[in-house]
Symmetry: C2
Subunit: 309 residues, 2 copies
C-alpha cells in the first residue's frame, strides 16, 4: 500500500459483477478481447468470472476458459469470485491468481444470497483457506464484506457487526479483506468512519473499496475511502453491474470515471484514459441495448488534462 | 456560517442556470409553481432569473414578474443574475433580495461571455455597489467567480488569478463571493486546495460553491468543498443547466442529489426529500423531452434513511 496516496490500483470487475447482471451472454472470445484491452489500457487486476453453478449464472459459465485465457496475458492479476468451497476448488484448479469470497454483513442478504448465515460463511472461508494450503496453491484469498453500509432487505447493518466479521475472516486466515457498498447506501461520512475503524482492525490487510453509484454518491464515496487510506478499488467498465439479490441496486462505479477522478487529482493508476475510453466504446457496442452508465465518456477529457500531458 | 458543518444551505438555481440552457420557455405561472414547491420542500434560497437582454435569453424575459411573485412567497431569499450595471438597476428595482454578478476568471471566457476582460467586470462590480448604495437598497451583492477551475476555451486558469479576483471583488465592495466550476473541470483535490486558499483571503465572505457534474465528479466536489468549510451550494433540480458560452458544459449538480448527499451524512439542509422528489417529477413533466440528470430519483431513498426518520 502507498500511504501517501499517490498511486492506487483499480480492479476491473465488469466481467463478473457487470456481466452477471446483464441478460446477454458475451462470447468467451469477446471477454478475452475485453481483458486484453483492459491490460493494454493499463489495468493490472481483473475479476474475470465467478465459479457459481452455470445454471444460476449462464453468462459466467465459461469462467474456467476465461481464466485460462486471462492468465496467459502478461502482467495481469486474474481473480474470480467463489461463493463456497466447491467454487474455491474450481478456482484453485483454474490457476486464477486470486479468489474473492463474498460475505454479507446483512444476515437477511446472506440468507437470500447464499442461503447461509454470515458465520456459516466464515466457517466455509476457513475451510477454503485449509483447502488452498492443502493444494499447495498460491491463489490469494480475499473476502469482500458486502452490504457493509446497509441492505435493501435488512436496512441498517451495524458497523460493529461489520468489524466483527472483518476480525472473524482475518482469524479464518484470509489474505485480504475489503468493504463493499453492494446496494449504494453508503455516504462519504459513513465511508470514512467505517474504513477508519476497519483499518484499526485489519491494517494493511484491509485492501479494497467496492462502491456502487446507485444514488449518485459512488465517486464521492471512492474519494472518501481514498482519504481514509484505501488504495485499491473495484470498478466496472461503463458502470455495468449490480446485485441480482438486491433489488434496486445497479451500477458499480464506472472504471473510466474512477480512473478520471484519480487522474484529475494527480493520483497515478497506470491507466491510459484514451485507451480505456476506446475500450468502453467497443464494449458498449457489444452490450448494445443494455443499461450503461458513467459520465466522462460523454463529455470527454478536459482541456486542462490534455495540457498536463 | 456553521463551522461545525452540521447545516448547509442549498440555493436552487434551476430556474436561471437551468432554464437558460433549455430551448423550451416555461410559463411564468409554472415558474412560480416551481418556486412555491421548492419553498414547500424546504429550500430557502432561489435564483429565479437573470436580468439580461430578453433577446439573448427569451426563456428568462419574465424575470421581473417572477421576482415579484417569488418575493411574495414567505421565507424565501430571492436572487437574480445580473451581467452588468444595467441588469443591476433592474434587479434593484425588482425588489430581489440578492443579485449575483458572474465574473469569469478565464480571460477568454470573459471576453466570449460578456465581451469584457475580468478587470473591466471588477470595475463594473464597484459601479454596481455604488448604485446599490445610492439607491438605498438592501439588495445583497454577490459575485460568482466562474471557470475558477479551468475553462473549455482557455484551458488552465491559474489559482493565483482566481485569488487575485476574489481580493479584487472584495475590495470592490461585494458582500459575498463564491467559486464556480462552470465547465466541470474541478476535482476534489483542486476544490479543497482552492477553497482553502480562498477562505484565507475572504473568510466568511467566501460563501458559495457552484459545481457542475459534467464529468461525474460533481458530488465528490461538493463533498470536498464541504470538507474545506463551504456551507452554501448552488444546485439545480434534475441537474438541468450549463453555460451557453462554454461548449460541452452541461448539468449543474442536481438539487435532489445534493440534498440526499447531505441528508445521508446527517447534515441538515431543511429539505424534505420526498417533497423535493415529487417536485422534480412535476418539473420533469413540464420539461418533457429535455435532458434531465440526477441519480437518487431513480433508485429512491435507501431503507436506512426511512428508518432514521
Amino acid at each position: 500500500m502507498d500511504a501517501s496516496g499517490r498511486t492506487v490500483v483499480i480492479r476491473e470487475v465488469g466481467l463478473r459483477d457487470g456481466l452477471q447482471s446483464i441478460a446477454k451472454t458475451l462470447a468467451t472470445g469477446r471477454k478475452l478481447e475485453w481483458i486484453r484491452g483492459a491490460r493494454d489500457a493499463g489495468l493490472r487486476e481483473i475479476e474475470v468470472g465467478s465459479f457459481v453453478p452455470p445454471k444460476l449464472l449462464p453468462q459466467l459459465a465459461d469462467t474456467a476458459e476465461v481464466v485460462a485465457g486471462a492468465t496467459a496475458v502478461d502482467g495481469l492479476t486474474v481473480s474470480v469470485l467463489v461463493p463456497n468451497p466447491k467454487g474455491a476448488e474450481r478456482a484453485i484448479a483454474s490457476g486464477a491468481h486470486s479468489m474473492l469470497v463474498p460475505l454479507s454483513a446483512s444476515r437477511l442478504h446472506s440468507l437470500a444470497n447464499l442461503r447461509k448465515a454470515p458465520d456459516e460463511v466464515v466457517r466455509e472461508i476457513a475451510t477454503i483457506r485449509a483447502m488452498r494450503d492443502a493444494a499447495g496453491s498460491a491463489c490469494e484469498l480475499e473476502v469482500g464484506i458486502s452490504t457493509a453500509f446497509g441492505c435493501t432487505m435488512q436496512g441498517r447493518v451495524a458497523p460493529d457487526e461489520v468489524l466483527r466479521l472483518v476480525r472473524a475472516v482475518l482469524d479464518a486466515g484470509v489474505d485480504r479483506v475489503g468493504l463493499a457498498d453492494t446496494v449504494g447506501y453508503a455516504d462519504p461520512r459513513a465511508v470514512r468512519e467505517l474504513f477508519a475503524r476497519a483499518f484499526d482492525v485489519a491494517g494493511a490487510r484491509l485492501a479494497c473499496g467496492h462502491f456502487h453509484d446507485t444514488r449518485g454518491l459512488g465517486l464521492a464515496n471512492v474519494y472518501a475511502a481514498w482519504q481514509a487510506g484505501v488504495r485499491r478499488f473495484d470498478a466496472s467498465l461503463a458502470g455495468i453491474g449490480g446485485c441480482p439479490y438486491a433489488p434496486g441496486a445497479s451500477g458499480n462505479v464506472a472504471t473510466e470515471d474512477v480512473a478520471y477522478l484519480f487522474a484529475s487529482m494527480g493520483v497515478a493508476t497506470g491507466v491510459d484514459l484514451d485507451a480505456l475510453l476506446a475500450l468502453r466504446a467497443k464494449v458498449a457496442q457489444w452490450l448494445d441495448g443494455e443499461p450503461l452508465h458513467g459520465a466522462v465518456w460523454r463529455a470527454g477529457l478536459p482541456k486542462t488534462m490534455r495540457e498536463a500531458v
